[in-house]
Amino acid sequence: MKIIEILGTGCPKCKQTTAVVEKAVEELGLNDVSIEKVEDIMKILEYSVMSTPTVVINGEIKIKGRVPSVTELKELLKQ
């Protein structure tokens, strides 16, 4: 089971990131994942990140402050 969280305050870049995550998950055919958009600023702060969008996989910050590519994300999800 993988929990993917996307931290962001709802800006265009955060939406793009969500789309990338969904595409990567679909292309890998993963069923065992939950994708969660975290828009609450208090929750974002718990990870003490200062730039969004941020992608968190199983509680670990993987991508910070930029929109990742689908290939990059697939690599991260395979680990």
Partner: protein
């Protein structure tokens, strides 16, 4: 350096399209191709270079540095200077603000960073070099840093902590010096390059349509408006020109990359450079969407003071430019 681009534009317009150099249309097209190619190349170089610099100085590192060291006033300069190399997305402004507050960094210093970061960014620098040349770009960058510092220092005198929203005051009360060591980037530079390059392409994709439209409008104006046309309205003797254009510029955020090429033509047709720079700083530095986001952490009064002080500093630098340039 860009002679070959000019030669290409000449060849394309005068020989391939078979247009006479005398025609307005030919002049406009020539200007359009020359400027588009030149600016595209410059944007690629500047964004890529800034991406590399930034990969060594991410914002967390800046925050920890400011939080840990006693800097005796130099912190305003450092925060402002780091703002230049840190790309700024207005959607990150809230987490960024809180991150600074949490690290015990004074509000004035945080403002210095928040002002310079959008004001002097990689896209603005690339466009500036292409449109106004190196010398004006350097003046713009230096004055951007000075403006961030000055506004930060002025804002620190207001004791603004009382205007923060209650939950931010709470964060402030629990602030502490950052002790967590910054996780040093272990990936060697050449492995990071593809990621930086992908960012370059993404940023370009976002601004190119605006830049092209801006240059197209600029090209038309360049060919059709007679030189000196604007001088009668916005010359250096008109004392209200600077404040009027600055205030007019604040709501125009999203099209900054499209506005710059137009402004360049205005300057070539007689608008003083200081007035034009004040206008551009207003466009790039302050934006309504940013103000809306900041409402989560600041009271409206504080946002008003923040915008007011920055606007005032922009207007003053506009006047100074008009005197010295």
């Amino acid at each position: 350096m860009f002679d070959w681009v000019q030669q290409f534009a000449d060849w394309l317009v005068y020989q391939q399209f078979v247009l006479s150099e005398e025609e307005h249309l030919a002049q406009a097209l020539n200007f359009f191709f020359y400027d588009s190619i030149k600016i595209l190349l410059l944007l690629i170089v500047v964004i890529f270079f800034m991406g590399i610099v930034n990969s060594y100085f991410p914002v967390e590192k800046v925050r920890n540095f400011l939080s840990r060291n006693k800097l005796y006033g130099a912190e305003y300069f450092i925060a402002s200077a780091f703002g230049v190399v840190t790309p700024f997305c207005s959607c990150s402004s809230v987490p960024l603000f809180i991150g600074f507050v949490r690290g015990g960094i004074p509000l004035g210093v945080t403002f210095s960073f928040l002002i310079t970061s959008p004001l002097v960014n990689e896209v603005a620098i690339g466009l500036f070099i292409g449109l106004f040349g190196i010398k004006t770009t350097i003046i713009y960058v230096i004055s951007g840093v000075l403006l961030g510092m000055t506004a930060g220092i002025i804002l620190s005198k207001f004791k603004l902590e009382r205007f923060l929203t209650p939950w931010v005051k709470n964060v402030l009360a629990n602030s502490q010096k950052e002790s967590e060591a910054f996780e040093v980037e272990q990936t060697p530079l050449f492995q990071r390059l593809p990621i930086i390059w992908a960012e370059v392409l993404k940023i370009l994709k976002g601004v190119i349509p605006y830049v092209i439209i801006g240059i197209a409008i600029g090209g038309l104006m360049h060919g059709y408006i007679p030189a000196g046309f604007f001088e009668q309205y916005m010359n250096e003797d008109n004392p209200f020109a600077v404040p009027i254009v600055t205030i007019f510029a604040i709501p125009m955020y999203s099209n900054a990359s499209g506005i710059l090429p137009v402004v360049q033509v205005l300057v070539s047709k007689g608008i003083p450079l200081g007035t034009a720079i004040a206008f551009m700083m207003g466009v790039v530095g302050l934006s309504i969407p940013e103000a809306m986001l900041l409402k989560k952490v600041m009271s409206l009064k504080l946002i008003g003071i923040f915008f007011g002080v920055v606007t005032l500093c922009i207007i003053i630098s506009g006047y100074i430019f008009n005197i010295i340039l």
